[in-house]
Structure formats: structure tokens, C-alpha cells
């Protein structure tokens, strides 16, 4: 009999990179399906082009440029593609989606050495690249086609941004939106922003499956709520209220799915909380004082840069050591 000899442990948990990534895809599905229901086939096209190009580019780069075995089976490119697609307006032309995918996979992920090595969240790098390169397309939001009151041109956040520039009180804008409808279907905005409830459902799934811990997300929500509560308390004509800030824009998508990306977030709980506080605070500063209406992407990318430091500073307590 041939016997196998290897060191302990002799069994392994059910986790694999692929199973974790697949769980993230499953968690994103409710929101993706919602967005296709609201926006129709063009949204489906954006998501499909994004996922297929991310996977395709990763395959091409690993096989043809790096001459390695392809890594597409780990499902991480699918996650990046889905997240990128959900961050774009459904009116984005297909070739623009492909450019975003190339930047996300080619520049943000593979040039750093592939999965696990990148400093910045690939999907966000792709989105921000498109945002600064094609600002017109990326900030033109068309309301859901399946609604009678479909409108063009603004999201709640961009309207507020305009109001601030024009000196109109923001309450004139925020009073147009009911929080209940924002929770179910956010008017205007990208796919991933449209249904807060579907996104939160996915987040709960990830927590229950122990794929992620809730601390980063919760600390972002708490910081956004607290910061806006303070500013809104000071001047409610100039600054938007906490509920509006929590429900609008890409905050929920960013906090639940982008900030919790394993590779680009801190390892320890304390590090994660500091990371989340930073994202929440920067988001509110950009929303209140920046020239862009939305700040979640920038806030996450900025905090991504601090992750190595946070990993070094925030260590968990070791057993039996003071």
C-alpha cells in the first residue's frame, strides 16, 4: 500500500478563493437583476459586456502576455466585471465599458501582479478612469425607462450639487424624494445604485455566509450618518440630512461591496473600522465641498492607499502578551 505522508492539518475547510468569489457574485445578483428590470436590455448589455471583457482581458493577459496559466477560474474577474458594470450608467456605450474593463483588469489588477497584489480596487479604478475621461456620458443619468415619470439629466446627488452651486436651499431638492422610494428604487443613478434594499440583502448574505465581517460597512454608514447629522444640524439649508446621504448615490454599493474587497481592505477589525471611518468622512467632505456630486469612489480609492499602513499599525491582540 502506498501511503500519503504530509504534515498536519490533514483536513481543510470548505472555503476556497473560488467559493468566496462566487458568494460575492450571488450577493450581487439581486441588485443586478433589479437594475435590469428597471432599465431594460441596455443595462443587461452593460453588465454582460463588462463581465465578459474583464474575464476576457484577464485570460488574454495571463495567457498571452504573462505566459502563465489563466486565473479566470477563481471568479475574481467576474466580480470585478459585475461591480464595474453596476457602477456605470446604463447608457454607457459598449466600447466605453470595454475600456473601463481594460483599465480595471489590465492596469489596476494585472500590472500589480494579479489577484491579491493590487493596491486599489480594480472596478473603482476602471470607473474613475471613465469618469474623468468621459465626464459627459458618465454623469448623464437617465431615469428608469419603465416609469412614466422617467426623466433625464440628474440624480438626487447631482441636483443637490447644482442647488449648492446656484445658492438654492437643498431642502427644495431633497423634499422631492421620499426615503421609502429611495430604499426600493433610487431614481436615476447607475445600476448598482438603484435598489438599496437588494444591495443590503446581498450584504446580509455575505455576512451570514461569513464571507465578510460587517465592521467596515457599518463604520462607513455610521460615519456618514454622524458627519451629515453634524453639518445638517448646523445649516439644514445648505447641507443634506443623514437619511438622504445614506440612501443616495453609490454609498450602499460602495460600503457593502467595494470597501469590503479583501485585497484592498485592512485585515484586522480595528484597521477595518478606521478604514471605514476614513471612507465615510471623505465621502461626506467630497459631497459637501467637492465639485463632484459623488465621492464614494474617490473616498474608497484614497483609503485603499492607507491599507498597508493600517495593516502595520492595527494588529490584533496576541495571546498572553500585554
Amino acid at each position: 500500500m502506498n501511503i500519503l505522508v504530509s504534515p498536519n492539518p490533514h483536513i481543510h475547510s470548505k472555503w476556497s478563493t473560488r467559493s468566496l468569489m462566487t458568494d460575492v457574485v450571488i450577493a450581487l445578483l439581486p441588485a443586478a437583476i433589479c437594475s435590469v428590470v428597471f432599465y431594460g436590455w441596455r443595462e443587461a448589455l452593460v453588465l454582460a459586456v463588462s463581465v465578459l471583457s474583464c474575464v476576457g482581458f484577464e485570460w488574454l493577459i495571463t495567457r498571452c502576455l504573462m505566459k502563465q496559466r489563466s486565473t479566470i477560474c477563481d471568479m475574481s474577474a467576474v466580480v470585478t466585471g459585475l461591480l464595474l458594470g453596476m457602477n456605470l450608467p446604463f447608457t454607457t456605450p459598449w466600447w466605453m465599458v470595454m475600456i473601463g474593463a481594460l483599465v480595471a483588469i489590465g492596469i489596476a489588477k494585472m500590472t500589480f501582479g494579479g489577484l491579491g497584489q493590487n493596491v486599489f480596487n480594480p472596478a473603482l479604478v476602471g470607473r474613475v478612469f471613465l469618469l474623468v475621461s468621459f465626464p459627459a456620458v458618465m454623469t448623464t443619468w437617465v431615469g428608469p425607462v419603465h416609469f412614466a415619470d422617467a426623466f433625464t439629466g440628474s440624480t438626487p446627488l447631482s441636483s443637490v450639487n447644482e442647488a449648492i452651486l446656484n445658492g438654492t436651499p437643498v431642502t427644495e431638492i431633497t423634499s422631492q424624494y421620499s426615503y421609502g422610494s429611495m430604499l426600493l428604487a433610487n431614481l436615476g443613478g447607475s445600476a448598482g445604485e438603484i435598489c438599496a434594499l437588494a444591495l443590503l440583502l446581498g450584504f446580509v448574505y455575505l455576512c451570514v455566509r461569513k464571507v465578510i465581517k460587517p465592521w467596515i460597512t457599518l463604520s462607513i454608514f455610521a460615519t456618514v450618518a454622524l458627519t451629515s447629522l453634524i453639518f445638517w444640524g448646523i445649516d439644514s439649508a445648505r447641507f443634506t440630512d443623514p437619511a438622504f446621504n445614506l440612501l443616495s448615490g453609490g454609498l450602499i454599493l460602495g460600503a457593502c461591496f467595494m470597501a469590503t474587497d479583501y485585497v484592498t481592505s485592512p485585515m484586522s477589525t480595528l484597521g477595518g473600522i478606521i478604514f471605514g471611518v476614513g471612507i465615510g468622512f471623505l465621502t461626506m467632505m467630497i459631497r459637501y465641498f467637492g465639485s463632484y456630486p459623488e465621492g464614494v469612489s474617490f473616498a474608497i480609492l484614497i483609503m485603499n492607499a492607507f491599507v498597508p499602513l493600517l495593516n502595520r499599525w492595527c494588529k490584533q491582540k496576541k495571546f498572553g502578551r500585554a
Partner: protein, 453 residues
């Protein structure tokens, strides 16, 4: 109320205790027993017999070779056939005394009956000496000589005795069966240990997945407490199910909420931990004059048709145990001495059992094959799982780079090699394999520095 458990890390593997219903049965005596002189932590024992000598069961055949060392007794009667190096389960040569068995003749004075003896002698010095003469070592895995653990160094004081009945490793059921079938003996053994330690309170820690054992031991304690006040102060604590609860440091943390410092002994926080099997061995020696010549071995695995908990004489070849139960099934690719998390894979089936052999586990290719290593995705699951609060992802990197200074600074020497990191890693990085090398380097650096002083 939340059940007590340790405070950092840990994992929840499926408990797979498929042999839990198998009663302890005696294994037929082997034709020859192979007794290694080094089957405890510490100095090897020195042989007391010569080739050709006739020995009886329970006769000492090797004496302690130092302070931290233990007696070894003949586990079968017969003739000493050889005293020579013999391959152990990893294939490394260890000095071994081989006894060719003739019949089953025991030393005079050993009480082989089942009668329970509950009267505990009062002379603690004599008790301690008897435990030493019985060759008793810790049967939870580390095989540390029990009499040494029971003699706290001057200045330290024991405040609590913990009887470790957690059996947190999947598959293992020998402690569970001992608790169920020999509960009285275990509790009398615990009372003896408690008395030797100065009458300290005693906690019997049992995980929640063994409710029958918890109920039974509670009954036994109540019954014995009616007989003698010596059994007062013994209580059962139901622990949450979590691996590695049975680790000494983790168990002390769970029971007493005290953390043993890096490199320190349990006694530094006032704790002494003894395994269920050790308590039984203490009873056998003190009350029945029977030294440590046999122990309970779980033989199990899903692929194995004849699960069993066997009472095996120390020095029985592993192959004969497996053959007694119908041989090794085709699908089995690995034979493990111990549990799936911390056990050692057997390279040599002709090796014999040791005092500390608690289980033989057979796993199939599908259950045990390592999967292909992928890149670290920095999920932090290893750090979350580490019961010592270490950062396996970092230690593994430092270890690959050979950075001994940083390994020591990041406490690689505190690693207890429980396997939680490798078990949880989704990228299948062989974390523990690599960290183990780094830990050895860090410990060597610490020893070298101490030697220079």
C-alpha cells in the same frame, strides 16, 4: 447562558465522531511488544533489562534518564528479544526494547479486578512517588511526565486543577468512551491529583457535543461526594464546541480567564491541566498498582468499516491493530496517529503504539489531499482563526524570507501548530508547514541568546 470557550480565534470543523457508540474493547495481545525508550517529552529512559531477561506485565524495564523523563514498563510478559534502534512511525530510528510475548503473566500486587477503590491514601509524597513509578505521562498528546507537572517549582502555587475532557479534535472518541465507561475511575483519579496539588478545586471540562458524558460525570461526582469529602470541589464545566479548546493554554483561558504568557508554563497562572486518560492512569496506578501499560485508541475513518475504541497494550504494532479490524480499506491513502488537525501521518505501519497514541484515523484521497496553492487574497481568515492571535499570512512571508528577527518580533515562537490557519486558508497556502520552519528558527535564536547569557 453562553458556554465558556477561549477568547481568540478557533475553528469549527465538523466533529465526525462516528465511533462514539463503540464500546471500549480489549485488543488481542500482540505476539511482540516494541517499547521505545523515548515516548515522553524529556530525556529518553535508560533500559533496566538485558536481552534474554524474562519479564512480567507491569515490570519496569527502563528508568527515567533525567528529571523530566519517565519509567517504562513491560506491557506483555515474555522474553526481552532485542534492545536496538527501530523505526518509529515517521521512520526515524529510536532505541526500542522488544519483548517476545509468552502468555500473559502479571507482576504480583497488580489488582486486575474491576472493583472500584475509592479510599484515597493520605500521604501526598507517597502518592507522587507512586505516580512517578507508574510511568505516567500526559495522555492528551504532549506526553509530559505527570509527576513533574504535579511538582510545581518553588514560588509557584496551583490554584485549580483542570481535567481536560474536551476532545476537540474531530473523529477522536477515546476520552468520551473513557468518561462514559470509566467515569468513576477518572473522578477518583482526579481527586488523587487534586489532593497531591494541595486540595485545589477541580474542573472537568467537557465540550457540549458529549451530553451523555456530561450527565454521567455529574452523576458520578454526586455519588462519590456522598462517600467522602475528598470528592468535594470537583465540578463539570460544559464548554462550547470549538477547536483547539483542548489546547492547554486555550483551555486555561476558557476555564479560568487567564492567559499563560509566551514561553511560560500553566503553573505561572496557577493552573495544572491533566487529560482524562491521565486521570484514569493515575487511578490505575495508585489504587490498583497497575502502571501505564495500555491505553484507549480510537480506530476510525469514514472509509473504515470497523470503527472501534480499543484498549491496546503499549508497543503494539499499528499494522496489527488495523489488521485486527479487517485491514486497511482500498480507498484509504493516509493513516494518521491522532486527530485530523494535529495528528501525525504514519510513514511506517510497522511502528508500534506509544503511551500517547490516542487514535488511528484513516482518510481517503478526497478527504485529505491538499489542493493547489493560489495567491493570498488577504482575506485575513488565517489571522481570524489563529487561537494565539498571530498573523499567519505575515509569519509565512517572513519565514519564506528567512527573517528570523522579524519572526521573533511577530511571535512565531508562540505558534502551537494547531493547524487552524492552513485549515481555513481559501487559497490553500501551506501556512503552517512554512511557519513551522520559521518557528524553529525563532526558537533557536531565543535559545542561543539564553545560552550566551
Amino acid at each position: 447562558m453562553r458556554k465558556p470557550t477561549f477568547s481568540i480565534g478557533g475553528v469549527h470543523p465538523h466533529d465526525s465522531k462516528i465511533s462514539r457508540e463503540c464500546r471500549i474493547e480489549p485488543m488481542p495481545l500482540p505476539d511482540s511488544a516494541f517499547l521505545a525508550v523515548s515516548q515522553h517529552i524529556g530525556a529518553p529512559a535508560k533500559p533496566l533489562v538485558a536481552v534474554g531477561d524474562k519479564v512480567k506485565v507491569g515490570q519496569p524495564i527502563a528508568e527515567p534518564g533525567g528529571f523530566v523523563s519517565a519509567y517504562i514498563h513491560a506491557s506483555v510478559s515474555g522474553t526481552v528479544k532485542s534492545i536496538a534502534p527501530r523505526a518509529d512511525l515517521a521512520g526515524n530510528p529510536v532505541m526500542t526494547i522488544e519483548i517476545a510475548r509468552e502468555g500473559d503473566e502479571w507482576m504480583e500486587g497488580i489488582d486486575q479486578s474491576d472493583t472500584l477503590v475509592t479510599d484515597i491514601p493520605d500521604d501526598n509524597k507517597a502518592l507522587l512517588e507512586k505516580i512517578k513509578l507508574g510511568g505516567i505521562v500526559g495522555l492528551g498528546g504532549a506526553t509530559f511526565p505527570t509527576h513533574v507537572k504535579l511538582s510545581p517549582p518553588p514560588g509557584s502555587k496551583c490554584e485549580r486543577l483542570i481535567i481536560n475532557g474536551c476532545e476537540c479534535e474531530p473523529y477522536l472518541t477515546s476520552d468520551f468512551r473513557v468518561l462514559l465507561e470509566k467515569g468513576e475511575q477518572v473522578i477518583v483519579g482526579a481527586a488523587i491529583l487534586k489532593q497531591v496539588l494541595g486540595g485545589v478545586p477541580c474542573t472537568v471540562a467537557i465540550e457540549e457535543n458529549k451530553p451523555e458524558a456530561i450527565a454521567h460525570i455529574n452523576e458520578v461526582i454526586a455519588k462519590l461526594q456522598k462517600l467522602s469529602p475528598k470528592f468535594n470541589g470537583i465540578e463539570v464545566m460544559t464548554m462550547k464546541m470549538r477547536y483547539p479548546q483542548g489546547g492547554e493554554k486555550q483551555l486555561i483561558d476558557a476555564v479560568m480567564h487567564r492567559q499563560v504568557g509566551s514561553g511560560a508554563l500553566p503553573i505561572s497562572v496557577g493552573a495544572v491541566v491533566q487529560n482524562v486518560g491521565t486521570a484514569l492512569a493515575v487511578y490505575d496506578m495508585v489504587q490498583k498498582n497497575k502502571p501505564l501499560i495500555d491505553n484507549t485508541v480510537t480506530v476510525t475513518g469514514e472509509c473504515f468499516p470497523h470503527q472501534a475504541n480499543l484498549l491496546v497494550r503499549v508497543g503494539t504494532p499499528l499494522r496489527s491493530i488495523l489488521e485486527h479490524l479487517g485491514g486497511i480499506p482500498e480507498e484509504a491513502v493516509k493513516v494518521i496517529s491522532g486527530g485530523p488537525m494535529m495528528g501525525k501521518a504514519v510513514a511506517n505501519l510497522d511502528a508500534a503504539t506509544l503511551k500517547g497514541t490516542g487514535a488511528l484515523l484513516l482518510l481517503t484521497e478526497k478527504q485529505t489531499a491538499r489542493k493547489e496553492e493560489g495567491p493570498c487574497i488577504r482575506c485575513g481568515k488565517c489571522a481570524e482563526a489563529c487561537p494565539m492571535g498571530l498573523e499567519p499570512f505575515l509569519l509565512q512571508k517572513l519565514s519564506r524570507n528567512g527573517d528570523v528577527e522579524a519572526l521573533e518580533a511577530n511571535a512565531a515562537q508562540d505558534c502551537i501548530e494547531c493547524g487552524c490557519c492552513l485549515y481555513s486558508c481559501p487559497a490553500n497556502i501551506p501556512l503552517l508547514d512554512i511557519i513551522r520552519l520559521g518557528k524553529a528558527d525563532a526558537m533557536k535564536a531565543i535559545r542561543d541568546r539564553a545560552a550566551k547569557k
